[in-house]
């Protein structure tokens, strides 16, 4: 079964706007990670939030984690055309370090 499920599946915004995407998961986790994939490229690690953290920032990225609701959100502020990509959340579960469970991804298109 799918561990991380993302919402929305697709998001289209204009440059300068903020993009928010959500991820829900089912089991207890060690951490939750967000990755970006540009078309035809590999996965790029964006940010990791541990299970005992609630919010984390990295540049224009802000991620939150609510373990009671088993959900996370990724906010990209002041989006740029270069942010156009697919974004995936991935959970690192209790006793399975490195066995990431990925969501289906959110496809983000940022138009100039």
């Amino acid at each position: 079964s799918q561990q991380g499920e993302e919402d929305p599946q697709a998001l289209s915004i204009q440059e300068g706007e903020n993009a928010t995407m959500n991820c829900s998961y089912k089991t207890s986790i060690n951490n939750l990670q967000w990755y970006r994939q540009n078309s035809g490229r590999g996965l790029v690690h964006l940010i990791l939030i541990r299970s005992n953290e609630r919010e984390k920032h990295s540049g224009r990225l802000r991620v939150t984690l609510d373990t009671s609701k088993k959900s996370s959100s990724l906010l990209i502020t002041a989006s740029r055309a270069a942010d156009t990509a697919s974004y995936f959340c991935a959970t690192d579960e209790g006793d399975s370090w490195g066995k990431l469970q990925f969501g289906a991804g959110t496809q983000v298109v940022v138009t100039p």
Partner: protein, 115 residues
């Protein structure tokens, strides 16, 4: 520092043939992972090496898939014989530690097409 390198980047083979994918992790990374994304589905874990040992191979779909990491450096993933449903993108990732702050470093993937 070189990243995770995978080759070939693309491979098109006929059903029944054999294909071997290779992954070179970041030097010094003991942990190496294989994942794949088949058409229209989410990225799925295949297996995890710690050095040359298979730590977890619970995601390997069947015995047509064989992964090796002799000497604990690069890894190969062989599919023999390939079937149509094996088509997809195969990713490799590596890390020094598990759960490290910088996550896992992924390669660009090998796009496998079985016709």
């Amino acid at each position: 520092e070189a990243g995770v390198t995978q080759f070939p980047s693309h491979s098109v083979i006929e059903k029944g043939q054999t294909v071997t994918l290779r992954c070179d992790p970041i030097s010094g990374h003991d942990n190496l992972y294989w994942y794949r994304r088949v058409m229209g589905k989410e990225i799925k874990f295949l297996l995890h090496f710690v050095k040359e040992s298979k730590q977890d191979e619970s995601g390997m779909p069947n015995n047509r898939f064989l992964a090796e990491r002799t000497g604990g450096t690069y890894s190969t993933l062989k599919v023999q014989p390939a079937e149509l449903e094996d088509s997809g993108v195969y990713f490799c990732a590596s890390s020094q530690d598990q759960g490290a702050e910088d996550g896992y470093t992924f390669g660009s993937g090998t796009r496998l097409t079985v016709v």
